[in-house]
């Protein structure tokens, strides 16, 4: 069976795995954002907590992915939950550190002027600092997403869903004539997904960034 034949026969299966994969990525990113953005804001505003927060987020990124996936199995069982926990932690550092960098890059004059006009701390954050830091923060989210898409393939090794299962199936049936197709299909699927999401980010960036700072 050629790769083309494999694709035509299995595209619905690949599509389904791709959607699983995407789902895994989006949920993990959602959690990482919900945690990482506030952490980044705290780290920016509180100089005392900045280094511990950044070091903590960096710590997870240093851990081998297999270890991080596995450590949640005793608590969360086999399947998607440990994968989501691990991926969320992996996604944290780029989001946190880019939030800090982005907020720090907002011109002091702009901050002072906003204060001088009587914006409260919260108004300043919401109307001035976050919108101005947004391009940098978005870059962090984009980097995180790319990281998570690739690593999510390893989720299959701990019984998780997604395109990794196709690769793992191919590895197990090594020697079998169809094995390479499965591996190519899974790998290519991940690459395509990564490219698609990257394109989506270009669009999101355009739509969510003020013309004044483009």
């Amino acid at each position: 069976m050629t790769f083309a034949e494999y694709l035509t026969r299995n595209y619905d299966n690949l599509l389904e795995l791709g959607l699983e994969h995407l789902n895994l990525v989006l949920i993990s990113m959602g959690i990482a954002l919900a945690v990482g953005l506030p952490l980044g804001i705290v780290a920016h505003r509180n100089g005392f907590l900045r280094n511990p927060i950044l070091a903590g987020a960096g710590f997870f990124l240093t851990l081998p992915s297999l270890a991080l996936f596995s450590i949640f199995i005793p608590v969360l069982g086999i399947g998607a939950p440990p994968a989501i926990a691990a991926l969320s932690l992996y996604a944290l550092l780029p989001i946190v550190s880019n939030t800090v960098t982005g907020l720090a890059s907002v011109s002091p004059a702009v901050v002072k002027a906003s204060q001088g006009m009587g914006m409260t701390g919260f108004q300043r954050l919401l109307r001035v600092e976050l919108p101005l830091a947004w391009p940098v923060i978005l870059t962090g989210i984009r980097v995180s997403t790319q990281v998570v898409i690739g690593i999510a393939a390893i989720a299959a090794l701990v019984g998780g869903p997604g395109l990794g299962t196709e690769i793992f199936r191919g590895l197990r049936s090594q020697g079998n004539a169809s094995a390479p197709n499965l591996v190519y299909g899974g790998t290519l699927g991940v690459i395509v997904l990564a490219l698609l999401l990257d394109a989506a980010f270009v669009l999101i960036r355009r739509l969510t960034t003020s013309r004044g700072i483009r």
């Binding site: 004059a109 901050v111 002027a113 009587g118 109307r127 919108p131 700072i213």
Partner: protein, 412 residues
């Protein structure tokens, strides 16, 4: 320096002026520093006046200003605005009612010019239509066409335009008080001059109570109704009108700070409307028969005559030789020299002198707001002013020296 206290307390009050901002013993000590950054600043600012805080860098003038809108919280002391103690009110609320202009403009780069100008009204909860109308009015006021600039972003404007928007933004909610921290400091000299003049004209309309910080004594003399010369820790060396500062500086620190050429600087203070301009220059309408024009010129002590157009605006300078040619048939509009040196009454004598030197006639024509002829200023007029100032200054210095001699060993 006993002068500090005596000068600062009441301030040189003009008749009927009402104090708008009163700073009482304002002090700021930053944690971990031995010396206070601002030490017991006491100052009264009258309503509708521009008060300039001027001093060398590091003297605490910007800190003093930021204490007033409490971007920096004072360690001790009081801030009264319009008689009300502002020291313990909500600082955000306070700042919404104080216009604030800074050197770097601090325009929000992600928001349009209209959104920038409408920031404080928005914070105060005005409705959209009212904000939009106010924004247009303000842009008009600072000389920017609303239709053109409303939708632009700060990066699409020049430095001077940005600073105009900064001023418009500070005026947006019509605050009675404005703080301006070196607002024209980062702008090229030519544009700065223009913005200063425009701002002074604007101030004639809006009559805000303004505290203006600068390190440039010339700017201080030009902009200020009153000037506080500061030394270290915002100690007031002298708080006085520009004229008094020039003619009777309180001590060597002040006269050193003003620097040389005080009498020339005085030209920056005197405005054309305040001096006696010559009104005896011969004039005639362009439509007057040449013979009559000649008669007018001959009857005067002048060598040239100013031709005015139908609306009374200066058109050309002509002399008797030009008129002779006119009698041979050349049209009056093609004779003589065009009038290049023109100023309005609010121009300073320095402006008038500049124009005069650049012109080819040796005198500057003064016109009113509509451009109609008012009179002329010549070198003689200007020299008279310089001489008076110099005399006053020398007389003052002599008096000061005499007064200080016995005290030398004790105080200084």
């Amino acid at each position: 320096m006993t002068t500090t206290e005596t000068m600062a307390q009441p301030g040189p009050t003009a008749a009927g002026a009402k104090p708008m901002i009163e700073l009482v013993g304002l002090t700021k000590r930053f944690p971990g520093t031995a010396e206070a950054a601002v030490d017991g600043l006491t100052l009264t600012v009258n309503e509708g006046e521009i008060t300039v805080l001027v001093g060398p860098s590091g003297c605490g003038k910007t800190t003093s200003m930021e204490l007033i809108n409490r971007l920096i919280e004072p360690t001790s002391g009081q801030i009264l605005i319009d008689g009300e103690d502002m020291t313990h009110t909500n600082p955000d609320e306070l700042r919404r009612h104080i216009g604030y202009v800074i050197q770097e403009t601090g325009l929000l780069p992600h928001r349009t010019i209209a959104q920038n100008v409408g920031t404080v009204p928005g914070l105060l909860g005005w409705d959209k239509a009212r904000i939009a109308a106010r924004v247009d009015e303000l842009l008009e006021m600072v000389g920017m066409d609303p239709a053109t600039y409303r939708g632009r972003y700060p990066k699409e404007l020049s430095g001077g335009q940005r600073q105009r928007v900064g001023v418009a933004r500070a005026l947006a909610a019509d605050p009675p008080v404005m703080l301006m921290d070196e607002p024209f400091g980062a702008i090229d000299p030519i544009t700065r001059e223009r913005l200063q003049n425009e701002f002074l004209r604007l101030q004639q309309q809006v009559r805000k109570t303004i505290i203006f910080v600068t390190h440039d004594i010339d700017e201080a003399l030009k902009m200020g109704d009153r000037i506080a010369v500061l030394r270290n820790q915002s100690h007031i060396a002298q708080y006085d009108t520009p004229e008094n500062l020039l003619t009777s500086p309180a001590d060597d620190y002040v006269s050193d700070f003003i620097g040389a050429g005080a009498s020339l600087k005085r030209l920056n203070l005197s405005r054309v409307r305040d001096i006696e301009m010559a009104t005896d220059a011969p004039t005639a309408s362009l439509s007057t028969p040449v013979a009559e024009v000649r008669a007018v010129l001959l009857a005067s002590t002048w060598t040239s005559l100013l031709l005015l157009d139908a609306t009374g605006r200066p058109a050309r300078w002509v002399n008797s030789r030009d008129l002779a040619r006119a009698e041979k048939g050349t049209a009056l509009t093609e004779l003589g020299l065009p009038v290049e040196a023109i100023v309005e009454p609010h121009a300073t004598l320095a402006d008038a002198l500049d124009e005069l030197i650049a012109s080819n006639v040796g005198c500057t024509v003064v016109v009113d707001g509509t451009g109609a002829y008012q009179g002329v200023v010549d070198l003689e007029t200007i020299m008279t002013v310089v001489r008076t100032v110099r005399d006053e200054y020398e007389r003052f210095h002599l008096a000061q020296k005499l007064a200080q001699q016995p005290a030398d060993g004790q105080v200084r």
